[in-house]
């Protein structure tokens, strides 16, 4: 090890120790404390979470919300990546630029634009009623369907970019060979291109999933006050109810749950055909 290398990491390392590791350690300590002054040692907050069905239904709904948003995202992102991979460099840049646009625009702004679209008198309802598809305005805002749609839109680049990266590194001769051996395009996609791009798909799922479950602004503005997910639950307990130790406990539970899902997905990457032979 060269000392100079370690010296280069140390400034950021020090900031992470003080501003990241230390706060998380304090959060863990607080979650086992009986009150905010950090006195006493108790498991009460964890017991309260486990014994109250309301609490773990929130956790379950949040984890499930991430799955739904990730799947919807994948449905659109895979074809986009496939098209982008075959497009000429110039068109690829244009396509990627459009894909990145939503995530660059302020989260509040992009959520706000969806309120204009999904509201009772919003664009979608006007179109649906104008076409005679529905007599009553549809309820889209403050529903989970609305949240899933907006999350999928916003996180799209997190899914497209990793898939495209893996696709562009895959030898195009493999797909050509499949076609030359008589497999059709769909079969080639299903048996060759898709399995080879799985590491990118899973990497995209990890990023999309962890961004979706923690998307506080989208969840609260599109979901409203009645659809409570974990970030809002933590916020309400911390700021609304001023119950810091309990808020700390549910923060820890939420973080561990998300990390478990991420770890599981990471394990899947190692099992994909592209990595299996190594």
């Amino acid at each position: 090890m060269r000392d100079s290398d370690l010296r280069l990491v140390l400034p950021l390392g020090a900031i992470f120790a003080v501003c990241f590791a230390a706060p998380l350690a304090v959060l863990i300590a607080l979650s086992f404390a009986s009150d905010t002054t950090m006195r006493g040692l108790t498991l009460d907050h964890y017991v309260r979470f486990i014994t109250d069905p309301f609490n773990y239904s929130i956790l379950w709904n949040t984890l499930l919300l991430g799955v739904k948003a990730t799947l919807l995202c994948l449905l659109f992102a895979y074809p986009i990546a496939w098209i982008a991979n075959r497009a000429r460099a110039r068109w690829q840049a244009v396509l990627l630029f459009l894909v990145i646009l939503p995530i660059m625009t302020s989260v509040v702004v992009r959520t706000f634009s969806w309120i204009v679209i999904l509201g009772r008198q919003g664009l979608l309802n006007q179109v649906a009623m104008g076409l005679g598809l529905t007599a009553e305005p549809l309820r889209l805002l403050f529903t989970e369907l609305g949240v899933v749609m907006v999350l999928a839109q916003v996180q799209m680049p997190l899914m497209v970019l990793p898939i495209l990266t893996v696709m562009s590194k895959t030898d195009p001769n493999l797909a050509d060979a499949s076609r030359a051996l008589g497999a059709g395009e769909w079969r080639t996609l299903w048996r060759v291109t898709l399995p080879l791009s799985l590491p990118g798909v899973i990497a995209g799922c990890i990023l999309t999933y962890s961004a979706s479950v923690t998307a506080f602004v989208t969840q609260t503005l599109i979901g409203g006050a009645r659809l409570v997910y974990m970030p809002l639950h933590i916020y309400q307990q911390a700021i609304g109810a001023n119950n810091w130790p309990f808020a700390a406990a549910i923060s820890i539970i939420f973080m561990v749950a998300v990390l478990c899902v991420v770890a599981l997905l990471n394990l899947l990457i190692r099992m994909t055909p592209a990595n299996a032979e190594r």
């Binding site: 950021l12 501003c19 659109f76 074809p79 098209i83 990627l96 459009l98 625009t105 059709g184 923690t214």
Partner: protein
């Protein structure tokens, strides 16, 4: 099945058509909302409707008098500016060291620095608030900036590491063998070669900081309100067209900044 006798490969066409159609729908889905918010903000009436009732710039004119909003926007700019500066100056050397060293500590630091991207940011924001109170302090701008550095630095690290992996080692060796010092090599060879990566990462860090809600929610007090929180509260309490006008301004500025970043840092290629 493709064969020599059929001139048109229907299967290939059907796949291309399906994927192109999905991509077209996705583009409407991705870009539509931004366009709609701009058009809505040009309304002449009091109500947020699409299509707008008449066109006018009155809500943009109203922004000039919105002192609170301007103050919040200025605070956000200052915080994002400092955050970007710190992310670039701390993240670039860290990425360099992580890239050069194949030791275990380098992998561990990499994992540590990337973890804010995967952990729920709101939980981190709350942890930071608890920590600050335990130290007997109160939330303030410097703490807010440090909190933003933690959640934004992964962007700089990612793009810089990607740029470094494209680097030709022979160039660095040549520089060293010609007698250049480590600093000289970095300044004259490495940095110009990875500059676009650092630039794209800094741009992403700036946007992420300017846009951050989960951390600012806990570390910004009433005095130091940042723009996204201000807008978030506006939308939750009274939805007015001024919010749409600010959104319009933000969308247009974002678009311009992205075009600049694309031109000078090759944003879309650096993000891959």
């Amino acid at each position: 099945m493709p064969s020599a006798s059929t001139p048109i490969d229907w299967e290939s066409l059907s796949l291309r058509f399906t994927f192109a159609a999905i991509t077209a729908v996705a583009i409407v889905f991705l870009v539509g909302p931004s366009l709609i918010v701009i058009l809505t903000s040009l309304t002449a009436s009091q109500s947020l409707r699409f299509p707008p009732d008449g066109l006018s710039l009155r809500w943009y004119a109203a922004l000039l008098k919105a002192d609170q909003m301007q103050q919040a926007a200025w605070t956000s700019l200052v915080v994002a500016g400092w955050t970007t500066f710190l992310c670039a100056t701390l993240g670039t050397p860290a990425a360099l060291a992580i890239f050069r060293s194949h030791r275990l500590w380098a992998r561990l630091f990499d994992l540590l620095f990337m973890s804010p991207l995967l952990l729920p940011a709101l939980a981190f924001g709350f942890a930071a608030l608890v920590f600050i109170y335990q130290l007997g302090l109160r939330p303030s701008i410097p703490f807010l900036i440090l909190g933003h550095v933690i959640v934004c630095v992964p962007f700089v690290l990612r793009t810089t590491l990607a740029a470094l992996s494209q680097l030709d080692h022979a160039l660095l060796d040549a520089s060293a063998s010609l007698g250049a010092s480590g600093w000289m090599t970095f300044r004259r060879v490495t940095l110009p070669l990875i500059g676009r990566g650092v630039g794209a990462g800094s741009f992403l860090a700036f946007m992420a900081s300017f846009d951050n809600v989960p951390v600012s929610l806990f570390l910004a007090d009433e005095r130091t309100e940042v723009l996204p929180i201000h807008l978030w509260q506006q939308i939750e309490t009274n939805l007015d067209v001024r919010t749409a006008a600010v959104s319009g301004v933000i969308v247009v500025i974002t678009l311009l900044l992205m075009l600049v970043a694309e031109r000078f840092a090759g944003l879309t290629s650096q993000m891959r």
